[in-house]
């Protein structure tokens, strides 16, 4: 009989794995795989979604093939059968004796257009057929000699051969009626179907109403312009109530008029009164070609075809002068063929006979030789790419898009600010483009070329977006120089959205930098302390408490920072800054004081040592409240200078005034030493500390072998005091040297703003401390105990053990801790949202605010219209944030792996 094999425990083990165990194993494996892939898919999906929203920003505009229609000179009297189409597919019939139109404008729906002919005739034309459905004239008496048409709105001005000037309001008027109330023929219209109706165009809307579009022309009475000679150049600006005009008659006499319109409530008639000034004109050999009035009516530009511009400063019309003369052509010999304005009439656009266009605006220039301190400077150049001479320039009514009509029949669209060429459309038979405009909604281009009207449906989604404008410096209208700017919304209609992400990226980095500067040392030191020095039992209380801090909602921290800390710190800036030095100093002082106690006392009171040393906080604050104002009085003295006599009128000792007094402000005089001291004090403390560890300590160690503890403590104290003195001396020396080279104001300190980077650094530091602390503490806790034993057994102190063994061993974990804190700081939203002013400025000034990518998204996304440029830009900001954290994490992981490997391979 075979004996069963021996058994230790009295049972026999089944060697087959049970089915349920196998199932559980397979299930676990599947779940983990699904989870892993799910994570990857989720992240990828988010990324793809972001990219999908962002990509349309950079797609080029699209346009439909044109609808071409000739102008049918039928007139309102005979609305008849459409004339036969011609070879180009357009219907046309030449004008019977009339003059060619010179200007065109379209309504919002691009159904109707009106054209102005040189004889003063206004035709209202169906864009789809070219049929003229109404006609008016703006020259009922004298012959029309000059005109100025609106960029936006309805105010036009006309000048006549007899020297009179008339204002007119020309605009499309809409009337709606319910379909039941509509006259018989209109009821049969299909949805969106149109038909000419009583000098207008009727269309059935999607909502089932009939809308009738007519051109309303209200020509006001002539105004005496102060001359009887023909008016030959004319421009206007301003509102219908207070128009401003500038004009020249055939003798080139230049006049400037500010008009006031009053409406008589009884008769309904509008009367205009004008105050006219004759501006001393500086003539040249030839008569000028163009006159333009800036949007605010403060400058008149007189422009000659050879490119010379005289800028008249007419802020005070009675004392108007030529502020400057500018040469507008890119190369000598070129001629200007058209001029216009961008929306807002601030940026001048000049088109030349080589097909290119140049934009110009006034900027403030230090020491400019002009009367108003401004200089008209070239802002951008829009390349013609071989197109013929520019014939017409017109601006979009909402954006900075220019439609430039060329001699060879092309219409090119540019976005000015970022110099992005948006695309071009081409007329069929290369006839010169007299007038080309963008539809009021930027969704169409209507052009007048030869006798035909061209109409393109356009889709220009995001003209402002281009990589250059988003990540590069852009010269915005009125800015002194190209700059990185984020300013997505503004108060006025002609406000230009500025989508530069760089200030936001900068703000993110600045906020992160200052919060890490504060949080990382504190968190790491705290972790070293609790894991290496603190009694286990105390640690068991401290650690969870710090971790509790992490669960403090950041909105609460932000609230604290913005509403309590920031306003309070603002009142005690010098003390707060001094506290940054005095609190650590007090800790050190008390630690030395402890060493000076007799050893018996030290051992007896060992339990309260921590409490004793923590007395450093109140002591430091007390010291700071005393030293802060003293240092302020000593270092931050500002002498107020009377600008006329140069005499010192007052001497103030105020830190915040001192901050403002830098940067060449002539009203103040102050020494920059104090500002440098703030930087060099910690730096030289570091240097001196390092030197004492490297040089003095080994020396002391040799000498102090047989010294008593007391004597050692005294020597240490002496070292400490002389070190402090040395630090101060070194810092002063360095500061004095740096002061000779540069003023720190404008570098890392400048004007104090209540909600600033210091506050954010402080409070966000608190937000990231728990997370850094916890991970760092765990990392050091994971260092095997036997390494500590070995180090201590070799005679190392706890501090030496911590620095030489524990920190290097835990380095990869510590690095992760810092990186996780970094990630948290980069993405942190609520604190920066509430504790900074959210001003997207780009300066390292610790006393000013900033706006981060995340806070920007939180601020603007609720307001952003879906699929608008702003909306997509916010998604781009999110993508940038995503990429930033991705890159940081990747680098972090890479470095971490290296540290880890180094520990094993070296």
């Amino acid at each position: 009989m075979p004996t069963p094999p021996a058994s230790f425990t009295g049972r026999r083990r089944t060697r087959r794995t049970r089915f349920s165990v196998k199932v559980a194993d397979a299930l676990a494996r599947t779940c983990i795989t699904i989870g892993g892939f799910g994570t990857i898919i989720a992240v990828t999906t988010v990324c793809v979604f972001l990219v999908a929203v962002v990509v349309p920003l950079f797609l080029p505009p699209t346009s439909e093939p044109p609808i071409v229609s000739g102008i049918v000179r039928s007139g309102p009297a005979e609305p008849g059968a459409p004339p036969p189409p011609d070879a180009s597919g357009a219907v046309r019939r030449d004008a019977p004796g009339g003059q060619r139109p010179v200007h065109i404008a379209a309504d919002e729906y691009t159904l109707l257009a009106w054209t102005l002919s040189a004889d003063g005739r206004i035709d209202v034309i169906r864009i789809d057929t070219g049929e003229v459905i109404d006609a008016h004239t703006v020259a009922p008496e004298a012959a029309l000699t000059a005109w100025s048409l609106p960029q936006r709105g309805d105010l036009c001005t006309f000048g006549y051969a007899d020297g009179t000037v008339r204002l007119a309001r020309i605009d499309f008027a809409l009337t709606f009626m319910e379909i039941e109330e509509a006259p018989e023929p209109l009821r049969d219209l299909d949805v969106l179907g149109t038909m000419a109706w009583e000098r207008g165009l009727a269309q059935r809307t999607r909502e089932g109403q009939i809308r009738i579009l007519r051109l309303a022309v209200d020509l006001l009475d002539p105004i005496d312009s102060g001359t009887t000679r023909p008016i030959i150049r004319l421009d206007h600006t301003g509102t219908a109530e207070r128009p401003v005009m500038a004009w020249q008659d055939a003798d080139d006499v230049l006049r400037y008029g500010q008009l006031r319109s009053r409406r008589n409530l009884m008769t309904g008639r509008t009367t205009l009164t004008a105050s006219t000034h004759t501006i001393p004109f500086r003539p040249r050999a030839t008569p000028p070609a163009f006159i333009r009035l800036t949007g605010l009516g403060d400058n008149i530009y007189i422009i000659w075809a050879d490119g010379v511009l005289h800028r008249y400063d007419v802020r005070d019309p009675a004392a108007a002068t030529v502020a400057e003369e500018v040469d507008l052509v890119p190369e000598p010999g070129w001629m200007l063929s058209a001029v216009g304005f961008l929306i807002g009439k601030t940026t001048l656009v000049t088109g030349d006979d080589h097909g290119g266009a140049t934009t110009w605006f006034r900027t403030r220039v230090e020491g400019a030789p002009t009367t108003d301190g401004l200089v008209l400077r070239r802002a951008s150049r829009l390349d013609g790419a071989g197109a013929g001479p520019v014939r017409s320039i017109s601006s979009s009514q909402r954006k900075r898009i220019l439609a430039i009509g060329h001699e060879d029949g092309r219409v090119r669209l540019h976005n000015v600010t970022n110099e992005r060429f948006l695309g071009e459309v081409d007329t069929v038979d290369a006839e010169p483009v007299h007038s080309a405009v963008l539809g009021p909604r930027d969704n169409a281009v209507v052009a007048l070329a030869g006798d035909r009207i061209y109409h393109w449906e356009m889709h220009i989604p995001h003209p402002e977006a281009s990589p250059r404008a988003i990540f590069g410096k852009v010269w915005y209208e009125g800015y002194e120089a190209p700059a990185h700017v984020w300013q997505s919304t503004g108060g006025t209609d002609d406000f230009e959205s500025k989508y530069g992400l760089v200030p936001l990226i900068f703000g993110t980095i600045k906020g992160t930098f200052y919060s890490l500067l504060f949080g990382v040392p504190l968190a790491l030191l705290a972790a070293v302390y609790t894991s290496e020095f603190l009694h286990r039992r105390v640690r068991a209380i401290v650690k969870p408490s710090v971790e509790m801090m992490a669960s403090l909602p950041s909105v609460v921290l932000g609230f604290l920072a913005g509403l309590i800390v920031a306003p309070y710190i603002e009142t005690v800036v010098p003390t707060a800054l001094a506290a940054l030095v005095t609190i650590p100093l007090s800790f050190l002082l008390l630690a030395y004081a402890w060493q000076m106690l007799p050893s018996r006392a030290r051992i007896r009171f060992d339990g309260v040592r921590i409490l004793f040393i923590f007395g450093g906080i109140p002591l430091g604050i007390r010291l700071a409240s005393f030293l802060g104002p003293v240092a302020e009085a000593m270092l931050f003295e500002v002498r107020v200078i009377d600008p006329e006599s140069g005499a010192v009128t007052a001497v103030l000792r105020d830190f915040r005034l001192w901050l403002n007094a830098g940067g060449g402000n002539p009203a103040y005089e102050s020494s920059p030493i104090g500002g440098w001291l703030m930087l060099f004090l910690p730096l030289s403390a570091l240097l001196v500390g390092l030197a004492s560890v490297r040089l003095v300590n080994p020396f002391l160690m040799l000498r102090s072998e047989r010294w008593s503890r007391r004597r050692l403590a005294l020597a240490d104290a002496g070292k400490f005091i002389s070190g402090a003195a040395l630090t101060l001396g070194l810092a002063l020396l360095l500061s004095a040297a740096a002061s000779l080279i540069h003023d720190p104001r404008g570098l890392y300190i400048d004007t104090y703003v209540q909600r600033n980077a210091l506050i954010v650094g402080f409070i966000m530091g608190f937000a990231i401390i728990p997370i850094i602390y916890t991970i760092a503490d765990d990392a050091m806790g994971a260092v095997p105990e036997h390494l500590r034993s070995a180090s201590l057994g070799a005679g190392a102190t706890r501090w030496q053990t911590a620095v030489r063994i524990v920190l290097p061993t835990a380095m990869s974990g510590l690095f992760s801790a810092v990186m996780v804190g970094f990630g948290r700081a980069v993405g942190e939203t609520m604190i920066v949202l509430m504790a900074t002013g959210n001003t997207p400025v780009m300066e390292w000034n610790i006393f000013s605010g900033f706006r981060t990518l995340s806070a920007n998204i939180a601020v603007e996304l609720p307001e952003a219209v879906k699929d608008s440029t702003n909306y997509r830009m916010l998604f781009l900001a999110a993508l940038v944030l995503f990429v930033m954290t991705f890159v940081i994490n990747t680098i972090a992981e890479f470095v971490r792996q290296r540290y880890r490997r180094r520990a094993y391979q070296l």
């Binding site: 503890r709 036997h786 057994g793 070799a794």
Partner: protein, 298 residues
Amino acid sequence: MTHTAPVQPPDRPIEMSGRERILDDARFAAMARGESIACETHAALAGEDTVLEIDRFNLHYGTVRALYDISMNIPRGRITALIGPSGCGKSTLLRSVNRLNDLIDSVRITGDMRLSGDSIYAPDVDVIELRKRMGMVFQKSNPFPMSIYENVVYPLRVDGVRNRGTLDEVCERSLRGAALWEEVRDRLQESALSLSGGQQQRLCIARAIAAEPEVLLMDEPCSALDPIATSKIEELMLGLRGEYTVLIVTHNMQQASRASDFCAFMYLGRLVEYGPTPDMFTNPHLRETEDYITGRFG
């Protein structure tokens, strides 16, 4: 105080050897009651110059008592071996000598030790200075995650020694002493963790002797070593004899008999018998000692 040490008299009948032994049932009974016992200390120890004096030393891990009233004098310049079954408190006693047990929160001690007359457990002792007078080799090798070179010179680094020449010399001599030099002379800058287990242990020995300690505490230094390395370590110990005091824990009876001058037998947290090694191995006073040494129990 609870006492949990399961004490059972050996269940096999103890074979009496030819010689007369002191009857020890009283001792077993005392141990079973959780009491301490008097150590059987040989008279030959009286003539020795004491370097480390252990004076009625007790140690508790929380509520568990690990050492019972240990009193022994470690003679200067000699090799003393601590033997005894696993878990009897040898490592605990060794760690108590340089106060590494301070790291464990639950440890409570009474009694004292004196190193050349200086109290080890007095309240105002500078523990760091004290530890610098002793080197320690642990049961489990524990090299630092640094280069081999830095591992060896670590005690000097801690003392602030910077002189490259000194460091190099100490490194080489220590490594030679630990019988490791030939193996690592070309890879001093490599990580210590790339060494084999036995090499790591010899590295730790090198690190301990680099500190030039008065007393070298070794906790089973050779348990992971092959016979060649073991004999080298023994050579080293014998070479150190005279100038240095070595206190070594070992489970290897041959090693204890070969390489030690004195031998202490511990059992269940008590020091049972302590005397010159030849006596302990050939003529122990107590029967337990003989049983343990001859492998009959433990």
